[in-house]
């Protein structure tokens, strides 16, 4: 018997239809509000378990090296291509805009600062989020639904240490290096696109672009990508390792890994840019 039937049988007055609808709506809204908090709570617990596993031996060096190759070497061509494309786009747009305001001489500095401080890191983050995030999320989700992660745990191996910590650490270590590669390609193609229109040697371009620059201008934006790596690795591993629901669950994990990692990456960029401007003026 439902609660309503029981109370009716006991002679209690029944709530009206409107009251029942309001109660149902209230519970739906309450669940909607609670769900994100529950997600963040579970993510926090997962992160703590990974940190605890990562700092206690035995360390999974072989798996870490494998993941460094997977995240770094195999993402390099795509990141380089993306960086090169961005360099050309910025070059074309900057030349047009600067010409309008009679500031063509600022082109090298504009390109260098735009690529290294803004576009290089975010483009690298988004490209790696798409490639690595989806791959990791799908791989771990597939392992979860086929009980491979349970088999790892039943073999007395900590899955947080073997699977999650290695992947997250690989993302943290590789993102700055990939960003440097994207920056280099972006500057190279940006210079080339400009040189096709107006003769400008690469030496002149570099000298003008980095004139007066300090390490504070370029190192913090590059190393902020370690936070991007943490976000990508953490969300992909979290989504993958708690998957349910067979093939549909695997697809959902892969999609959510990319979408959520990209979203949080962009939001983190807002905070990190402000932080860098304050700490490294």
């Amino acid at each position: 018997m439902t609660e309503r039937q029981i109370t009716a049988a006991a002679g209690f007055p029944q709530p009206g239809r409107d009251a029942v609808l309001m109660s149902s709506a209230y519970h739906s809204v309450a669940d909607m509000i609670a769900e994100p908090f529950e997600w963040f709570g579970n993510l926090g617990i997962f992160f703590w378990q990974v940190v605890r596993a990562a700092v206690t031996p035995p360390y999974e060096w072989r798996e870490l090296v494998r993941q460094l190759d997977e995240v770094g070497s195999k993402s390099l061509p795509l990141v380089a291509l993306a960086g090169a494309a961005v360099g050309v786009v910025i070059s074309l747009e900057a030349r047009y805009s600067l010409s309008r305001f009679g500031a063509k001489s600022l082109f090298p500095a504009t390109l260098v600062y735009t690529v290294i401080q803004v576009m290089g890191p975010i483009i690298t983050g988004l490209v790696v989020s798409g490639r690595v995030g989806a791959g990791m999320g799908a791989e771990l989700a597939s392992m979860k639904v086929t009980e491979q992660i349970d088999a790892i745990e039943a073999s007395a191996i900590n899955p947080y240490r073997l699977l999650a910590a290695t992947r997250i650490l690989a993302c943290i270590l590789m993102l700055p290096l990939l960003t440097l590669a994207a920056d280099a390609c972006g500057l190279l193609t940006g210079w080339f696109a400009q040189a096709l229109v107006e003769p400008l040697s690469f030496h002149q371009f570099i000298e003008a672009g980095f004139k007066g620059a300090t390490f504070n201008a370029f190192l913090p934006p590059t190393f902020k990508t370690t936070v991007y790596g943490l976000i990508i690795g953490l969300i992909a591993c979290f989504q993958g390792m708690r998957t349910r629901g067979g093939a549909e669950g695997v697809g959902r994990a892969a999609t959510n890994s990319v979408v959520l990692a990209s979203l949080f990456l962009i939001l983190a960029d807002v905070v990190l840019v402000k932080f860098i401007l304050v700490v490294f003026p």
């Binding site: 378990q49 596993a53 206690t56 035995p58 392992m143 086929t146 009980e147 491979q148 349970d150 088999a151 745990e153 039943a154 073999s155 007395a156 191996i157 900590n158 947080y160």
Partner: protein, 243 residues
């Protein structure tokens, strides 16, 4: 002290009560077969014993130690003494057959040289009749072969306790017989405490020293096959009649 002692264990998933006050014991050298209808919590019981799930109440003790409150690394030390064969083998699909069996050895027997590990893997696969498939991928072999490889992997660390989830499910009668013979041989050689979850009454009769029959969240009867045959409980009679 029993190798495995389950005491008054309860487990529910949401509103669905699966186990309600189950108690079992298995000593070294014994094989307990757990029988029951589909959905009566047999596999859940194995997952509680290996620690992949935690009971809502009650205790699961391995050699006297309650595993419910242990951390992942603490329970890892206990799992080193246990081998688990999953219902669908749960082989690592990106590794070859040999790499699957070597996996626990790589992590827990780091003092072994590569050649020693290779010899041990070959020996384990030979025991289960799979030494001709070292370089094959799990997707290249049949379900029955995957179970044999899963069994070899479960035996890699020479466990004291062996947990087998439906070892003969989906196999033809000849292959089932071969798996049963293998389990009996391993029992004779290694003197393990084994818990086998199965639907197959013939298999249970062949390999088990005693049988527990589950129904409606609890153990209906526990004893030898003859005890089941002489039982007056209606469910037991019906189960034996239909098997």
């Amino acid at each position: 002290m029993p190798a495995v002692a389950v005491r008054n264990v309860e487990k529910a998933f949401g509103p669905h009560q699966v186990l309600n006050g189950i108690s079992l014991e298995v000593n070294r050298g014994e094989t307990l077969a757990v029988l029951g209808r589909s959905g009566t919590g047999k596999s859940v019981l194995l997952r509680l014993i290996i620690g992949l799930d935690k009971p809502d109440s009650g205790s699961v003790c391995i050699y006297g130690q309650d595993i419910a409150g242990l951390t992942l690394d603490q329970i890892g030390a206990i799992r080193m003494k246990m081998g688990f064969l999953f219902q669908h083998a749960a082989l690592y699909d990106s590794l070859t057959v040999a790499e699957n069996v070597a996996f626990p050895l790589q992590h827990h027997r780091r003092e072994m040289s590569r050649s020693e590990r290779s010899d041990r893997v070959t020996q384990l696969l030979a025991e289960v009749g799979m030494d001709g498939s070292l370089d094959k991928m799990p997707s290249d072999i049949s379900g029955g072969m995957q179970k044999r490889v899963g069994l070899a992997r479960a035996l890699a660390l020479e466990p004291d306790i062996l947990l087998l989830d439906e070892p003969t499910a989906g196999l033809d009668p000849i292959s089932s017989g071969e798996i049963n013979d293998l389990i009996l041989q391993l029992q004779r050689e290694h003197h393990m405490a084994s818990i086998v979850v199965t639907h197959d009454l013939h298999s249970a009769r062949t390999i088990a020293s005693h049988i527990a029959l589950l129904n409606e969240e609890n153990v209906v009867i526990e004893g030898s096959y003859e005890d089941l045959q002489h039982s007056e409980i209606a469910f037991v009679k019906e189960f034996l009649k239909q098997s």
